[in-house]
């Protein structure tokens, strides 16, 4: 794929030696953070703080502090949940799927992308919890033996599937991330001067010594995890889509939702990864590692998924009108022309039209332009979830219960807070572990150069 597009460019620019790679990638960890980092941390930390205040207020006062009503039972909460789960999809996808397909250009991206997955899933996980009327009873979602005669849970509920899917996804992603991190932690352990930091790296690197016996097993395990994570990625967003697809509500009750959701998730996730990588490479000076070929490859990915998403929009409309289900047809007319029609058109523009700019080389070669497109895609994908959730709910079967939905400040701050959490976590991540998988880059570079050096 991508390598076929750009055959002659090296994976990593500047013919690095392994020692150089270790040194350059781990360099930011040894230094004191610069002023930009502190500024960004202050901004994202403040956003996180505001979000925590908003969540605290909501937990203390009640869900009524959100703009929901008896007709629109989910609004910003589940929109944000699906949005963040979607963002969280690219990380594992880049890591696992590209690993299986032996796309070695992934090595520059996979660590940060996986971390992003974890942080995004953390952000996503907040919403199912706080959207509950009584979040302190959230543990009732888990089937444990109890004194209620052992009253179990309803395994028929998509929310239970969600609970299992999201927690499995988080666990497997975290394990996958950590397993990939072990050799690098050992590298750091061996590069760091004795002290607290070194002891921490030493503790976390589990006694890794680079033994080839371990590498041998490691490769098998990593491949297996990648193989497990790939269907997991698909299943998680499929299950998230069943929250809607198994409901009776027109606009939700469609079989297209699972592929549509998975594709949309990859689309938004890739955009977010690309946006973050553009920022990171600028901020941490990793231009040799994250090159134009990576941006190009990601752009093709985004273009492709954008096409699929656009196709899904058209298919949805076609199905709604072709089947002759009047409720379904109404919902789609209402989405486009009803009182919340603006959100539909934002969605179509940002997801369908704006990404088409990436066809142009001139756009792809301007990081700022690519960055703008990725942000537009993320806005569009947020609105896609808003459109699916709110416009389907607000006018359903009985006209008597039609209502509108106006988010409150508390909801806005909560959403802001998750962005704060995401970026705070990402900034701290940049300071604690290598943002690029050192061992993998070395392997890729050696494999590339190895043709001459007599690999095999």
């Amino acid at each position: 794929m991508a390598e076929a597009v750009l055959p002659d460019q090296p994976l990593i620019a500047g013919h690095k030696t392994p020692a150089q790679i270790s040194a350059e990638i781990s360099a930011p960890l040894g230094q004191r953070p610069n002023r930009t980092w502190w500024l960004l941390l202050a901004i994202s930390g403040s956003a996180l703080g505001l979000g925590l205040l908003a969540i605290g207020y909501e937990l203390f006062t009640g869900i009524g502090t959100w703009g929901l009503n008896r007709t629109v039972g989910w609004g910003f909460d589940i929109t944000n949940f699906v949005f963040w789960v979607g963002i969280g999809h690219a990380g594992t996808l880049i890591s696992a799927v590209l690993f299986i397909f032996r796309q070695s250009w992934r090595t520059s991206l996979n660590r940060a992308a996986e971390a992003m997955t974890l942080f995004a899933v953390m952000c996503a996980g907040i919403f199912p919890l706080i959207h509950m009327g009584r979040p302190w009873l959230a543990y009732w979602m888990f089937p444990y033996p109890n004194v209620r005669g052992s009253l179990w849970i309803n395994f028929r509920s998509p929310l239970v599937w969600d609970f299992f899917a999201i927690s499995t996804y988080f666990t497997i992603s975290a394990v996958f991330w950590f397993v990939g991190l072990i050799p690098d932690l050992a590298t750091l352990r061996d590069r760091t001067a004795p002290g607290l930091r070194q002891r921490i790296y030493s503790f976390l690197s589990l006694g890794w010594d680079g033994s080839y016996r371990t590498w041998h097993r490691y490769e098998a395990v990593y491949l297996l995890l990648a193989g497990l994570a790939t269907p997991l990625v698909v299943s998680v967003h499929t299950i998230v889509s069943t929250d809607f697809a198994t409901a009776v509500l027109p606009g939700w009750h469609t079989t297209i939702l699972p592929p549509y959701f998975v594709c949309g998730a990859i689309f938004s996730g890739m955009s977010m990864v690309l946006a973050l990588m553009l920022v990171t490479r600028g901020a941490l000076g990793l231009r040799d590692y994250i090159q134009q070929r990576h941006i190009d490859a990601m752009s093709w990915f985004i273009l492709g998924t954008s096409g699929v998403v656009l196709l899904a929009y058209v298919t949805e409309l076609f199905t709604a009108f072709y089947t002759g289900n009047p409720y379904e047809a109404f919902v789609f007319k209402n989405r486009a022309l009803g009182p919340l029609g603006w959100s539909y058109w934002i969605m179509v523009c940002c997801n369908g039209l704006v990404p088409q700019l990436l066809w142009f080389r001139g756009v792809r070669h301007r990081p700022a332009a690519v960055f703008a497109v990725t942000i537009a895609v993320n806005i569009g994908m947020w609105f896609e979830r808003f459109v699916i959730i709110v416009t389907s709910l607000h006018r359903d079967f009985l006209p008597s219960s039609w209502a509108s939905y106006q988010p409150t400040l508390i909801e806005g701050l909560t959403m802001l807070g998750t962005f704060g959490l995401f970026f705070t976590a990402f900034l701290i991540f940049c300071r604690l572990v290598p943002v690029i998988a050192i061992a993998e880059v070395k392997q890729a570079v050696v494999a590339e150069q190895g043709g001459a050096a007599g690999g095999h």
Partner: protein
């Protein structure tokens, strides 16, 4: 106590010394005191206080029913008060009462809350200072003596109090003090009806309407099903007159001419928008046409042909002696024309009963005007005001303020401090009607006992007791009632019962039927009247009473404030309703605040667009802007985004009474008006914003412009094919899953006859009282978060020939394939073996997924904790129903607490449970009898029979959710012209 009150003849008939119970702190062993909410765990250590002395017949937790009489409005329905552990917690109609026959309206249902209102006047006051009754009596008796000595008049201004005891006590009082008169003034006056009958029949009387026998009824601005004189009785009669299975094939045709869309107009087969100023001319025209057809033409000129009016005249004449014209305007000309029509049509004696005439609204406007003149002339020495609020209700309220202050002594007898209180020197608190002895005679010959069911919670004294003291013949309430009854009721008995037996039976039944008092009358004769020229003001104001608020005397009641008006679906406010075309002409949008000016008075209100209203009219509800609504300043949840339920003046709505006017000694509720936009915008709290099942044109799918949520047909089509109007399913339900579940025992089912439902909202309130449903306040309703488990959907069809309006009680459908159940992660809502969709509050974690997935949107979420605004009001909670805390979903349970109690009682007695033994609150209360509930597995049950009705359908049948709630199609007796164009 020689004789005490008796429970209604449900259980033990022995006398019960009930008053002792308050000597102890209450029977808190009742585990059901579900005050604390479901999230909290009780800790051991709370003491349980049993009685010290066991009252006979009282069993903790077991309800006792007492028969009494409602005083919520003038209709005076008989009721049964359900008392648990000494607390009345629910009012239901008394089945033995001949007027309301077991049913009760929303206002009546809401009265029980008044018992626990902590803001009632608790103690007498003199000049604003708390005083004792001795001081009050001294002051009043002193002033009365002084008035007699100075030859000044004593006047008692009261609302309609028709009970024999009141009459007797007033007679005693008047006899004691020389120039003493009783003047009856109701805020909603029907004075002209009495005056018209004085002219045509020689008796100032208000005929009782027997609508059940009617074939054609014409209403002219007459809201007899809504805020009229006896809506509970009329709603039942109206639906009986529209019985499709009537053996003689008779089916009521209802024509309504009115300015605003009233509840009655909503149910009419044909509606004519008519400004009140044009009503007299229209009635005259109709009279001419009818007279011509009957050969009694009063004038030569041939009326212009008008197919609609001619058809109406034809129908009226065809149905002679079973047709009637009802006029609701307090205007003598209109009433005389209506009487003329009814005399021509032979309605008197068949539909209009002057023998058993109505004593429900005996207002005498002329006497009020005369009183005002007397007051102005300084002739009145003592003025007693009972149950009236002239400062708030009369257009010249400000003038009354000065007049009252000038009287040497004004005494206000009432339950609460109101606008008039400040102008009165003595405030004499009156008990709640459930706390005091009394009676009522709503129609001549039907006497109803008002029996106390709880010890007074305040130091109040009823009007009759006070009058007995002030007549120098002090007597207790019970003794007064017995004395009056021996004199005025027992003497009219139709049996030969002795007094004790008569009294005991009256107490147990709640009412007795006796010989009507004969009223002197003359041979009826129609009068020739010339209608006044049609008022040509560009805009005409129509003032009316809302179904839930009436004249505003219940403005303190949060349940009624929150009850959405069934027509506009607005709660917590009044507004200036305009026809959409009129608003467009005036460049006004919904929510624009306007200033109305009529006769020098001004009022600022937001605009509401009301389809169906006569163009060129502005309709404003009376009864708002009351001082009693100040208490709602802090109702509802408190958070940073909350808005108060009251307006800038600290009141709910604006008082429109200053816009009323006096004309020819009568209180008129219409006037020319001008509108001026103020530039402000206000959002009304509307529980339903999409008013039609016809979809917006630009969003409707091709070929499906409407949703057949309420299905309707015409009478002719129904006679031709009883299944006419059935909407073919868009697609048959498909089954992914097999069916494993059977319902071998009971299987609870409901059938709602939309044809009978009048939209009166009694069910909504009954449900609220029975199920501890909180009041959430204006802001929450505005945010579409009202908690009513049973809501009343209202659909207008602007595309229909007239204006088809339909009401649809919408509650949990208890679907067999419930979409809500499948999605709940924690099994908090699951199906019972009897077909109920159960909601377990304490298991609910509040994901709201169930509500999203409910096609009927009948699930209600506790967005906040919604405590009672008045802590005392917690005493009205039903101990059998859990109080829900925040974060929990709730919904209609089919009153499962009643089902379970009935099953337990059946187990106790060993009798099988029949569906007649148990009714949910909504079905029990419905005045029109539109709701059947029961066990469909019992082939003999009423509900099983109703299920076989060819009109039966289920809403959203094609979803395959198998709802347990069924509806019966509306059958409109469409006029011939509309018949062809009707979509059915």
């Amino acid at each position: 106590m020689s004789h005490d009150s008796q429970p209604h003849d449900h259980g033990t008939p022995e006398p019960l010394p009930r008053r002792d119970f308050l000597k102890v702190a209450g029977f808190s062993t009742a585990a059901g005191l579900a005050l604390a909410g479901c999230g909290r765990q009780r800790t051991a250590g709370e003491p349980a206080l049993p009685y010290a002395e066991q009252p006979e017949g009282v069993i903790g937790g077991r309800p006792v029913w007492y028969a009494s009489t409602c005083a919520g409005c003038g209709e005076r329905c008989g009721l049964l008060a359900k008392c648990v552990d000494g607390r009345p917690i629910k009012l239901e109609g008394n089945p033995a009462h001949p007027l309301n026959r077991g049913r009760l309206c929303a206002v009546g249902q809401a009265q029980v809350l008044g018992v626990y209102d902590s803001q009632r006047l608790a103690q007498p006051q003199i000049g604003g200072q708390a005083a004792s009754w001795e001081q009050v009596d001294q002051t009043v008796l002193g002033a009365l003596t002084a008035a007699r000595d100075q030859r000044r008049a004593v006047r008692l201004l009261t609302d309609t109090r028709s009970g024999p005891t009141s009459r007797w006590a007033m007679q005693q009082f008047c006899a004691a003090w020389g120039d003493c008169q009783v003047i009856v003034s109701d805020a909603l006056s029907h004075s002209a009806v009495g005056e018209a009958h004085l002219q045509t029949h020689g008796v100032r009387a208000w005929p009782r309407l027997h609508l059940a026998r009617a074939t054609v009824v014409v209403g002219v601005e007459s809201d007899f099903l809504g805020s009229g004189v006896a809506p509970v009785e009329q709603a039942a009669d109206w639906s009986r007159a529209r019985d499709l299975a009537a053996p003689d094939g008779r089916y009521l045709y209802h024509f309504q001419a009115e300015a605003r869309l009233s509840l009655t107009g909503a149910k009419a087969d044909q509606r004519l928008p008519l400004r009140p100023g044009a009503a007299a001319a229209w009635l005259q025209d109709l009279l001419n046409r009818v007279a011509r057809r009957l050969g009694a033409a009063q004038q030569e000129a041939t009326p212009k042909p008008d197919p609609r009016l001619d058809e109406l005249a034809d129908r009226l004449v065809q149905a002679r002696s079973s047709s009637v014209v009802l006029c609701g305007l307090n205007d003598l000309t209109c009433q005389l024309l209506a009487n003329g029509l009814n005399l021509l049509l032979g309605s008197y004696g068949s539909l209009l009963d002057l023998n058993q005439s109505s004593f429900q609204r005996l207002t005498d406007d002329a006497a009020v005007v005369a009183l005002r003149e007397e007051l102005a002339a300084g002739q009145v020495g003592v003025l007693l005001l009972a149950g009236v609020n002239p400062l708030a209700d009369l257009p010249d309220g400000a003038a009354w303020d000065k007049l009252l202050r000038a009287v040497p002594l004004t005494v206000q007898i009432g339950e609460r401090v109101d606008e008039t209180s400040a102008a009165c020197r003595v405030l004499a608190p009156e008990p709640h009607f459930l706390e005091a002895w009394g009676d009522a005679e709503p129609v001549n010959g039907v006497v109803s006992v008002q029996q106390p069911v709880i010890q007074p919670r305040t130091a109040a004294r009823s009007l009759v007791e006070s009058l007995s003291v002030w007549s120098n013949r002090p007597q207790g309430g019970e003794a007064l009632v017995q004395t009056a009854w021996q004199a005025a009721v027992w003497s009219r008995r139709t049996t030969d019962q002795g007094w004790p037996a008569f009294w005991d039976q009256a107490l147990a039944n709640g009412c007795v039927e006796v010989r009507p008092v004969a009223l002197p009358s003359s041979v009826p004769q129609a009068l020739n009247v010339a209608p006044p020229p049609v008022d040509t003001a560009p805009l005409e104001l129509v003032l009316y009473a809302k179904v839930g608020q009436l004249d505003g005397r219940h403005a303190w009641n949060p349940w009624l404030q929150e009850l959405p008006d069934p027509i506009s679906k607005v709660s917590w406010d009044n507004y200036a309703a305009l026809a959409p075309e009129t608003a467009a002409e005036l460049h006004l949008l919904e929510g624009d605040e306007v200033e109305l000016t009529a006769g020098g008075a001004r009022l600022k209100l937001p605009v509401l667009l009301q389809t169906g209203q006569a163009p060129g009219t502005v309709a404003v509800a009376l009864g708002y802007g009351r001082a009693a609504s100040r208490r709602f300043a802090a109702i509802g949840p408190r958070w940073i985004g909350a808005h108060p339920s009251v307006n800038d003046q600290g009141l709910v709505g604006g008082n429109a009474a200053p816009l009323r006017r006096w004309a020819d000694g009568r209180l008129l509720d219409w006037a020319p008006v001008t509108l001026q936009a103020t530039g402000r915008r206000l959002e009304l709290a509307r529980a339903q914003t999409q008013e039609s099942q016809v979809l917006p044109a630009h969003l409707a799918p091709a070929g499906d412009p409407r949703r057949e949520i309420v299905q309707a047909t015409t009478l002719a089509a129904f006679r031709h094919n009883p299944q006419a109007g059935a909407e073919p399913l868009h697609h048959g339900p498909s089954e992914l899953w097999g069916r494993e579940h059977t319902y071998p025992g009971h299987r609870w089912t409901m059938v709602i006859d939309l044809n009978a439902c009048t939209g009166c909202s009694a069910c909504v309130l009954a449900c609220q009282v029975e199920n501890n449903i909180p009041v959430v306040g204006r802001d929450e309703v505005r945010r579409r978060r009202e908690m009513h488990w049973l809501r009343l959907d209202r659909y207008l069809d602007p595309t229909s020939a007239g204006l088809d309006v339909a009401f649809q009680p919408m509650l949990c459908h208890h679907c067999d394939n419930a979409p809500c159940e499948v999605v709940c992660p924690v099994l908090a809502t699951v199906h019972s073996a009897e077909g109920l969709n159960q909601q377990v509050y304490n298991r609910c974690v509040g994901t709201r997924y169930c509500a999203n997935n409910c096609p009927y949107k009948v699930r209600r979420f506790n967005w906040f904790n919604y405590p009672h605004d008045d802590p005392d009001a917690e005493l009205v909670l039903n101990p059998d129903v859990t109080v829900r805390t925040r974060g929990v979903m709730e919904k209609c349970t089919f009153c499962v607490q009643r089902l379970e109690a009935a099953k337990a009682e059946a187990a106790r007695t060993g009798q099988p449970l029949r569906d007649a033994d148990v009714q949910p609150a909504c079905a029990q209360s419905c005045p029109a009898g539109a709701i059947w509930f029961g066990d469909r597995n019992d082939p003999n049950s009423a509900v099983a029979r109703a299920l076989a009705d060819p009109r039966r359908y289920r809403v959203l049948e094609e979803l395959g959710v198998e709802p347990a709630v069924n509806y019966l199609r509306v059958v409109r007796n469409a006029p011939a012209a509309a018949e062809e164009s009707h979509h059915g």
